[in-house]
Amino acid sequence: MTTNPMDTRLNELVERDRNHECPGYGHDHVCVRIVAVAKLPSRFGDFRIVAFWNNRDQKDHIAIVHGDVVGAENVPTRMHSECLTGDVIGSLRCDCRDQLETALKKIGEVERGVVLYLRQEGRGIGLANKIRAYALQDQGMDTVEANLALGFRDDERDYAIAAHMLHSLGISSVHLMTNNPKKVQELEQYGVKVSRRLPHLLPPNPHNRFYLETKAQRSGHFIDFAGLPRLQEQSDPVVIEGMPE
């Protein structure tokens, strides 16, 4: 079986990282290594999946790569935080599934790109606390103080891990897909050059149409058709095509 040069380059990173150790990124001094690479054709496009080990927890962070990214510049990049309820179950309490699908589709269609899938379920403290936050909401008790105590959230750590992952992939600059300009600065703090910000627009669908219908509440809670507040679990605001950013 022949291996194309792009796969060879990715596979070489596993060998290169075998003994990788660095002072680490961010307040947690997080360091990652590329430990495995494989082909991952998906319904959203033709991808390679790259698994990372890290020195802080037992979570395997993932890069979903399309095209030849090693050593490339201006690589379209999306950071996505794991959300089991949204990503897998298709929960409508958040828009994570829409955000992930849109990112994979867009990146699958262009020459090259990366989705960093950060395994920070419940924003750092686990799924159970996220469900506790939902339970508090169900009782009409959700407060900023309670949500922060439940672990919403350690953004800083996401950026440190993401920056290291991009460096490990040899990506020198990115076009970051985000609606949050702060994310650009945060990532640049860790030495990732963000040469452009690409708005992350979600196509309208029956589940997110209410955003368009209640566009006045840009910063506040969006209440969906079921009467539940829609949680912003990715650290960007949701922007639907046709909605002013």
């Binding site: 020195n55 802080r56 750092g124 403290i125 686990g126 159970a128 606390n129 506790r132 339970a135 508090l136 009782q139 008790m141 959700d142 407060t143 103080e145 309670a146 922060l148 105590a149 439940l150 672990g151 350690d154």
Partner: protein, 339 residues
Amino acid sequence: MQREVIVIGGGIAGLQCAKELQEAGRNVRVIERARGVGGRLATRRFEGQPIDFGPMFLHGHAEPFLRAVKDVDGVVMQSPWPRRIQGQGTPCQPDAFAPTEQRAIIPAGMNCFAKHLASGLQVQLNTRIERITADGNCFLLRSSADEEFQCQDLVVAMALEEILGMLGTMGAVPELAPTATLLGMFSSVPSLTLLAAYPLEVPAPDWDILYPEDSPSLQLVSQDSCKRLQPRFVTLVIQARPGWSRERLEQPEEAWSTQLLQEAAQHVGEWVLHPLWTSPHRWKFARVDRGNELSRPLLTPINGNLRLGLAGDVFSPGGGVQAAWLSGSALAQRLLNEE
């Protein structure tokens, strides 16, 4: 006017919180119901020999916590006890032996860490607070001996269920409703504990700590005397599993201590049945289980100008002594920075 702070609970969380507030120039008092500080980081003495019957050793990975531990007189951090671990059962904290964790013991007794934190603090012992009232511009605290205390910033640093009990004495405070609902979703686990002393002549085991994998009742047996520089007795500390403990919490001590001793004898040897001395202890709220922790302490404004802070082992990821210490430290910083 300087805001007065009172900390209820002289365990690790409360003491660290008080220490950082005092170092920042705040006027702080710690009120502790027991006759000594330390809370669950507990040490007893048998004929002068210390026996730790709460956490068996300290462990952690957070730099500031490890520095605080390093500061304690006589602390052992270089390949400390337990070196010889027996059995495949799980430790109370699954991470305790992870490569990221540093461990430590204190030969003079684990509660020396608490005494160290408390030195220089104003600590009032033997005082049980029975009622808290949030008055217009101060918290009013009343003790079981009818002593009264006042403060503008109140810290309650205890086991989760004890905090809920303390909040319960305040009656209906609208600002605290979400807090009570939130804390009601969490719980601690109990551990019935038995301390036993034997003459040095017994055939002491060749391990420091035993985690039996197949015992219905035993979580661990610790050979505490191996932590001491010149032990005059062999001492064992037997801690029971949470489920087994919960079923027996209301039973008389004699019943469960005899069962624990018999089960320990099965694993250690017949000699365990003949101690010189035993002492049972009921840890109703021994610790939090993994997945039952919050990420930070809670700070709630009440009546506009009062603040109620909550700290303890449940208020930091991971649980245990490190979490208690970190939560106390984080709460002090919030009280100082969110004015």
